[in-house]
Amino acid sequence: MRTVLIEMLLASLACMFFAIVYNTPKKELVFCWLFGGIGYGIYYYLVKFCSMGTFANFFGAFAIAILARFTSNRREIPVMVYVLPSVFPLSPGGNMYNACYALIMNNLDMAMTETMKCIKIVGMCVIAILIVLSLPEGIFKNRDKAKA
């Protein structure tokens, strides 16, 4: 459990600094920090303790997208401002780099494996985000009014 918390902290900090690279507004940095940590925490927990494969990415991205949707409705800021930096630890940038590097180094087996992994991860993340984004607006609005 302690490793999960440490990983969450690291991931959330990475998200926050990545959000600065994407020029996120200063007031929204806290949310990127929080959502990134939560999303990666869920992913890491599922991979580590439930031995889930790529499906863990789905649940991580799902949590991020739902949280982002609520916040964006409350603060009237586009959803993607929260989603894109927060999904950074889950996104397969490293796999993509590995695949290209293996291709250049003539290591075709590894290139193929990494490419497939990359496509799987991207598919899972995007399907999760899309499902949440295509949910009707009403779900998020009503809950918001009840809270306020």
Partner: protein, 257 residues
């Protein structure tokens, strides 16, 4: 109401959104929102990742078409939210088209993060990614130094409007070269972890997610453009790193990666 002004406002909005890295379906929705209440007889919008075409058929001025090309892009989510605010106040009738256009121009020059914070962010994001990949603390420290150097390099080249492939290639080269240099002087324990962690801020993970998002939304043109961009970026970065490794081998170091 002057349809020319409204059209100029609409096309400038689209151009700014596209230049700041927004998805095309979102831009189409936004321009629709601008043009809908203006009582044109007909309007058509076509947005791709590299340009915008808007045609309007108004009662007194006939058919007007405006086209705009957007060659260079970067991610800037603060501008996106500012522009959405401006559009919302235009739709609500608080601003006329001319005022909104001036506001757009102002929003573009709005101060963002200071230079050194952006540079540091490149380093720190790389550092935490290195630690997440399982690096030691010393690897993280090396990663900060290398990442800051990479940030300075990438920003400087981008400011000079260099060819994107070359920017990424140089970024990869700087990271590979400096990482081996640090290892040479006994700092850092795992070379591959340092390199991959530091490269994460410019590695195209998030752009790839964005592109597949576009494709599943039905924007095949812009989605494929983005996907090719992402793949080319990955290729450029790894070419740069490979060059650095080859250079070190030629210089007589024993690099195993």
């Amino acid at each position: 109401m002057n349809s020319r002004n409204i059209l100029e406002f609409a096309v400038t909005t689209g151009e700014r959104m596209l230049a700041n890295g927004c998805g095309t379906h979102r831009i189409e929705g936004l321009i629709n929102k601008i043009l809908e209440p203006c009582k044109f007889r007909n309007h058509e919008i076509f947005v791709t990742t590299t340009g915008i075409v808007i045609t309007v058929e108004s009662v007194d001025e006939g058919v007007i078409t405006v086209m705009k090309q957007v060659p260079k892009k970067k991610m800037h989510t603060e501008h996106i939210s500012l522009i959405e605010d401006i559009v919302n106040s235009f739709v609500a009738g608080e601003l006329t088209a001319e005022q909104a256009l001036v506001e757009l121009k102002n929003a573009d020059s709005k101060a963002t993060y200071p230079y050194w914070i952006t540079i540091l962010a490149y380093g720190m994001a790389g550092c935490f990614r290195t630690l997440m990949f399982g690096g030691q603390i010393i690897d993280g420290l090396v990663s900060v130094c290398v990442g800051v150097c990479m940030g300075i390099f990438v920003q400087a080249l981008n400011a000079k409007n260099t060819f994107t492939f070359l920017v990424n290639c140089c970024g990869g080269f700087v990271v590979g070269f400096l990482a081996v240099l640090f290892m040479r002087f006994g700092m850092g324990s795992m070379l591959d972890k340092i390199i991959i962690g530091t490269l994460m801020p410019i590695a195209p993970g998030v752009p790839f997610v964005h592109s597949v998002n576009d494709i599943l939304h039905g924007d095949y043109t812009s989605g494929m453009t983005r996907a090719y961009e992402a793949i080319l970026t990955a290729a450029a970065i790894s070419t740069g790193v490979a060059f650095a490794m080859i250079l070190w081998k030629l210089l007589g170091g024993n690099v195993s990666l």
